[in-house]
Structure formats: C-alpha cells, structure tokens
Symmetry: none
C-alpha cells in the first residue's frame, strides 16, 4: 500500500494540508489574528480535527519551522568548525540566503511577527540561532563600524527579501543583488585590517 512517496500518505495528507493553510494564513494575517476556526474552515474540516494532528496551536507553528531549522543548524555547525576567515563568512551568507529563499514565507512571517515569536518557544530557538550566526560573522575585536557592517550584511539579506517583494523585479535577481551587497559589506568589514 502507501502508493508513492512518503510514509503513511494514502489519504493521510491532512497534516500537510493543515500546515500549508496555516502558513498561508499566518503569513497573511499574523499568528494571533489567525484562528483555528479559520484554518479548519478553509480546509473544510472541524477544529477538532486539527487537534487530532497537533496538540496545540503553537504546535502547528512549531512544526512549520521544522523544515527550516535543519539546513540552518547544519550551516551553523559547519561554520563553527571552520576558521573565521572572510571566505567562510561569504559562504555563510551564500547559504543563508539560499535557506531564506527556500523558506521565504516563513522568514517573512518571522520578520513580521517578532513580538509574537518572542513568546513562542520556537521564537527563542530561532533567535538563538540568529545570534549564533551574527556571532560567526562578527569580528569582536574590530571597530564598532565594522561590527555594524556584519550585522547589516545579514539584515541586507532580509531587506532584500522583504522590502523588495513590493518591487517589480524578479525575486531571484533581487536576491542575488542583495547577496552581492551583503558580500560587499562583509568584505569591507575585513578590508581595514
């Protein structure tokens, strides 16, 4: 049985569908303003059905981050083993930009719901990761300007994703442009040595 790809999937794609719809709505309206009733209605199931698949509302959102944390964790682990060279940092930015592209709507959600994230367990988790990343990019012994440059590099990636979505240009192209600027910034942060 279980005709094609994953385990236990025959008609049991409900869990996945809940996640899809939830992400869609969370991204659109925010986490707090999205009610389980809304999610259930859009799926044409009852609220109780959601509780068969997830223990709480927070559980739904936590599950959404599961796909994201993997690649980022690997990135962090990898980086921690490398020497703190410019080239390593460039690689970090490159891969981080890719991860963002893959989980764009999730990143946007995070960006737009920081206050909410702060009281979600997953929020703390993600924030710690971000700090780790900043720590990896940072050169603590450099002048404040260069430190800001490093942070700004990361932020530029976010800026590229968020703000420029309202712009006419091709998303991928925009992402590349943002990556370029981020690279510039990190390079400058190193060039004054």
């Amino acid at each position: 049985m279980s005709s094609s790809s994953g385990p236990q999937q025959r008609r049991g794609d409900t869990r996945q569908r809940i996640q899809d719809v939830a992400l869609e709505l969370f991204a659109e309206q925010g986490y707090e303003k999205t009610s389980l009733r809304e999610i259930a209605e859009r799926l044409e199931v009852t609220k109780a059905a959601l509780y068969y698949h997830f223990k709480t509302k927070e559980d739904i959102i936590i599950s959404l981050f599961d796909d994201l944390t993997g690649p980022v964790d690997e990135l962090i682990e990898w980086a921690q083993e490398q020497p703190k060279t410019l080239e390593m940092k460039r690689e970090v930015l490159r891969r981080y930009s890719e991860a963002m592209a893959a989980g764009a709507s999730l990143f946007r959600f995070m960006q737009e719901n920081q206050a909410t994230m702060r009281e979600l367990s997953i929020g703390e988790t993600m924030k710690r990761r971000l700090f780790l990343l900043v720590g990896l990019l940072q050169a603590a012994d450099r002048p404040l300007e260069d430190q800001v440059r490093c942070v700004s590099a990361l932020f530029t990636l976010h800026a590229g994703m968020m703000f420029l979505q309202h712009v006419e240009a091709d998303p991928e192209e925009t992402r590349q442009a943002a990556l370029t600027i981020a690279m510039d910034l990190i390079t400058q942060a190193h060039s004054h040595e």
Copy 2:
C-alpha cells in the same frame, strides 16, 4: 502633601498615563496580546475610564504615533523639494536616524508588529511614508545593486536600532556607527556613475 505615590494624586494627566502604559505594554507584548484590561489594571482605573479618553483601542495606538509623524512628514516634504543629490540623501538619512532615536520604542514596536500594523489604519499611513522615503533615496535608473544599496541604507538604520540593542555598546554610539554605514552605502550607490 501626598506628592508622589497615593492612589489619587494626579488630575488631568490620565490621558498621558494611558499612553505611557500602553506604549510600554504594546512594546513588550505586542498590540494584540495587550488587553485593555491589562492597561487599566496597571493604571488602577477601570476599562471604561480608557474609553473616556480614547474612542477605541486602535485610537490609543494612533495617538502614540502622533508625535512621530510630524518630524517624519516634515522630512519628507523637505526632501521632495530638494534636487535628488547625494547630499540631500545623506541629510535624509541623518534626520531619519534622529527621528528614530527620539521615537525608538515606537519604531521598535512597528518593526516587531508588522503583521499587526498592516491592518491598522496607522500601519498603511506609516508604510506609505516609508515607501516615499525609499523613493526619495532611490535612483531608479541605476543598476539593481545600487537600488538595493539604497534600501539597505535605510534598513541599516533600523538594524542598528533593533538588533544592536541586545549588545553591550552605548546606544548613541551604535546609532552613529549605523548611520556611518548607511552613509557609506548611499555614497557607494552614487559612486559608480
């Protein structure tokens, strides 16, 4: 007597006190998660008292933005009358950075509650302002990289304010550093001509 701490010492400053407490709580927990009951309790008045001073919950937050909109509007107006030179843009960044410093907690609130802001009338207003600012910094006829640099300049200011608050350094110093980087970015965006 009873100069400071009695239960009924102040007269006529209730409106202001509501604003103070509201800002505090909105910034801490987000707009949605802060209930009027909470605000009222902290002020030791009833919920109904809030409604004597403000017509709705949204009205409270709108009033908080009143001090902010003035300076930013003036900045935009001024900039629109200037020629689009590099020097003008530098001045815009300078003054915007100052406005942010003055209304820091409000800016942080905006940053952290974007999803919420989107459905507040004031959200649209602020967003339009931001777009105007970006438009003023932008050089539409330039390569995509330079355009991103302009946006990134603005975002760097935000980054400076938000992210580096978790850092040990002096806030004012940090702001200056962020301003410097933003200046660099805008200058670079012009230098390839």
Copy 3:
C-alpha cells in the same frame, strides 16, 4: 424677566430641547437603542447635563407623556360620568382621535415599543388607560362579535395613524377616514340590539 410665554424660560430651554431630541430619537430608534450619549451629542451638551434636568433616563420618557395624559385623563373622566350611549362612544372616538393627532409621534412610539413600555412605570399607566377606554366602549352583554368590533374601532384609529403614514395621502384626511370607519364599527356594534 421671562420675556414671552412659559415660566422660567429665558435661556433655560434646555429641558425642552432634551425632550424634543429624545422624542425624536426614541421614535426613530426605540427607547432601548437610544443612548443618553446620543441625545447629549445631538444637543452638544454632556451626558451629565441631562442629569441636571432629569433624574434618570426613564424620567425623560415619563416627562414626554405628561402632555398626553392630561387630555386623555379628562376624556376618560368625562366618559365615566356619561351614560353608555352610542353617542357618548362616538364622542370618545372623536376626541381620542384628536388626542392621537396631537401626540402622534408619542402614540407611534408606544405602538412600536410595547415590549419596552411594559417595563416602564409609565407603560402600566398608559395600558390601564387604554383598558379603561376599551371598557367604556365595550358593551359586555353583547355577542363576542360586537365586542371585537368595539376594540377594532379603537384599533382602526391606531391603524389609520400608523400604517397609512406610509401612504401618499394627506394625514388629516386619512385620520378622518379612519375615524369614519371606527364610527361605522361602533355603530354596527350597537345596531343589532
């Protein structure tokens, strides 16, 4: 002092204005749905001002009925002293119809807010009056049909006022027509003797 008509009226017409506006709004929206805030706003005074002139909301409506009760009470008193002839009943209908024309909006209010009236002290009062009137028109020793006719005569007056207000015709003309029918009914109720 007190230049022209009533006692204490120089600039002290506020009480009257409250009554006017209240009647207007009560008639338009019902008693319950009309708030003191609304009345106060339309008069451009504060709610507290209303409480200077009237002790409660109910007091306002009671005062509105004051002009009405006089004529109706007199009518009842007069009728109770007369013998129960047809001619007396015709006179009752005539004068009642007149009273209704004078206090039309109040009558309409009563008609449309019976459920409300029932729990207002004034409601009981008015209802007792109505029953007295019906009793005066009634001939208890007649067949049920004739009794209904008597009630219907009174109702026809109300019907004339209420329902035909939505009709193109002249109000006074309509009232006369309704009076005629009511007369017919009461006459028929007597003719089978």
Copy 4:
C-alpha cells in the same frame, strides 16, 4: 433510566431548546432586553454553547421566523396569481388568520417590538410581506374610506390576537370573531361599487 429531568438527559435537541427559551424570553421582555446570558442560564449551558448553534443573536431570532415565512409566502404567491375578487380577499384573510394563530407568540412579538424589528434584517423582510398583503387587499381606485377599511381588516386580525388575549374568552373563538369582523370590513369595502 433518568427519563425526563436530569441535567444531561437530552442530546441533539439543544438547538430547539434554545429557540424555545429565546422565543419565550423575547416575547416576555423584548429582544434587546433579553441577553444571551439569560437564555444560556435558563438552559443551563454557557453562552458559548449558543454560538455553536447560532452565529449571532440576530440569527436566533431569524431562525424563529423560519416556520412563519413559509406559509405566508405561499399565501402571497397564491394570491398574486388570482384575480382581485372579493372572494380571493376573503380567502387571504382566512388563511392569514390561520397563520397568525399558528405563530401567535411570534406575531405578538413582532407587534410589540416594531421598533426593534425595524433594524433587524428579518424586520424588513416581514414588513415587505405585510405591504404586499395590504396591496393585495387594497383597491386603489376606491375612495379613501374603503382603502382604510381594507387595512383595518388586516389590523382587526392583529387586534383580535393581541388585545383580546387579555380577555377571558376562548382564543379560538376570539379569532373567529375577529375574522368575522375583518370579513365584514372587506365586504363593505366592495359593496359600494
């Protein structure tokens, strides 16, 4: 066991029980003055339970009218297809009187809460129906007296139901008497031709 009075004997009739209690209270105190808390308490459920069965308070009252609208609609449809003869009008009165008897408490509620009905969606609907009925009874080319007679016929039915409820007589008998008078009126309206 526990056949009738236990705290949890019925299953699946809650919706019906809500309607029963609501009608009872609405009729007794009016729509506005009846709170959902009151309804819930009398049913020994929570307010939230009401919302499982009805989307809003207005929804409850709308549902109460559902049984009524059917027969009346059919009556109107039927009448619209008939020629405007006296016999047709007599049939309309007959059937309308029957419909009223079936939904007596609802009709009484309407009569007593007209001001409320006016702002309920269902109010408009019912009013339109009433006007249609009057239009069907009316003979627009007749003298004003005869037009009033037609309206009065309908009102007599209402009068019969409402006012005479306070009277000792048998309701059905009273209804028949009122119907007779209404018939008289409509017949008279035609007899002067």
